[in-house]
């Protein structure tokens, strides 16, 4: 089987994504030194990181130019993996709050 046909258009979109990723990193740095409260800092940084990751996956990993079934399949599978692995967070709050059965 051969590759999918080369997508139309030049390399301009890659440079746009590159600049966007640099901007996201700069905003992250600014936010970290601006020091919002802990939860806000984490939330803001994670949202920015996810935006950068989505840009990277779609354009630098070229998922946007793949077959639509592949895009949906990979996305669903990855989100399922990430969602199920997050069950541990509740236990970290339980340890922090020191409820009896955590000791």
């Amino acid at each position: 089987m051969t590759n999918a046909p080369e997508e139309q258009g030049g390399t301009g979109k890659y440079y746009v994504v590159y600049v966007c990723m640099l901007l996201i990193s700069a905003i992250e740095l600014f936010v970290a030194y601006h020091r919002p409260r802990g939860g806000q800092l984490l939330g803001t940084l994670l949202i920015l990181a996810f935006i950068g990751a989505i840009l990277g996956v779609l354009y630098f990993m070229r998922l946007a130019s793949e077959n639509r079934n592949a895009v949906i399949g990979f996305a669903v599978f990855t989100l399922f993996v990430l969602a199920t692995i997050n069950y541990g967070w509740t236990d970290s709050f339980r340890l922090l709050l020191g409820v009896p059965y955590a000791k």
Binding site: Y14, L22, A49, F60
Partner: protein
């Protein structure tokens, strides 16, 4: 007759033709395998980062040791990673158009940037070791900090070094005609994945712990 029917029918004009199922997502099998590997590798990194977040969240005396020198170094590393992602995607694009010399040149530029990243990463590690941070103790707070830090950044560094070895082998092989554009594209996918992981490592490990 559709393409899939033709492939599945498996014979024609009296000649025996091997029967193949079409690739499920209409991508080459090697590339599909790389995507599945990346998805499984997401579990590795997600496990490490979530464990790191778990420990940081559960420890009130988590250290915040990163001075501006470290943050500047990490910012340069991020710049290198993002720029190397751009050069790698340009290498893949050239490879798909069968422009072998251009693809090889961009791959080697990516390789050099990866080597600089590794050098800066090791410099950070030696700096931390010099400040007394080991797997089990450090001068600032909970002893879990060092283990969590070295695990998360170490697994990232290990992936980067594996990708650089792949760049040398596949890049040279592609230039000589031994490997195809799909092989180089797989290297590119892996490199982009490492870059995306780095975009999570920086905020969680470094920017959340800037010294006040």
């Amino acid at each position: 007759m559709s393409h899939s029917e033709a492939v599945l029918e498996g014979s024609g004009h009296g000649h025996h033709v091997p029967v193949f199922e079409p690739s499920p997502f209409a991508v080459p099998a090697k590339k599909l395998a790389m995507w599945l590997f990346i998805i499984s590798d997401i579990m590795t990194f997600a496990g490490c980062l979530i464990a790191y977040g778990f420990l940081r969240n559960a420890q009130p005396d988590w250290p915040r040791p990163y001075q501006s020198g470290t943050i500047i170094s990490v910012t340069i590393m991020t710049l290198i990673m993002i720029t190397s992602s751009l050069t790698m995607v340009l290498a893949v694009r050239a490879a798909r158009a069968e422009r072998r010399h251009e693809a090889f040149r961009f791959t080697m530029i990516t390789l050099v940037m990866g080597l600089v990243f590794v050098a800066l990463h090791l410099r950070e590690w030696f700096s931390m070791i010099g400040q007394g941070v080991t797997f089990y103790k450090n001068p600032w707070g909970t002893g879990l900090f060092g283990g969590a830090y070295y695990s998360v950044t170490g697994i990232e560094l290990l992936h980067v070094m594996a990708a650089l070895i792949a760049f040398v082998i596949v890049g040279m092989g592609y230039k000589r005609g031994r490997y195809t554009s799909v092989d180089l594209e797989n290297c590119g996918l892996f490199w982009q994945f490492i870059n995306i992981v780095w975009m999570f490592v920086v905020p969680l490990v470094y920017l959340m712990n800037v010294a006040g």
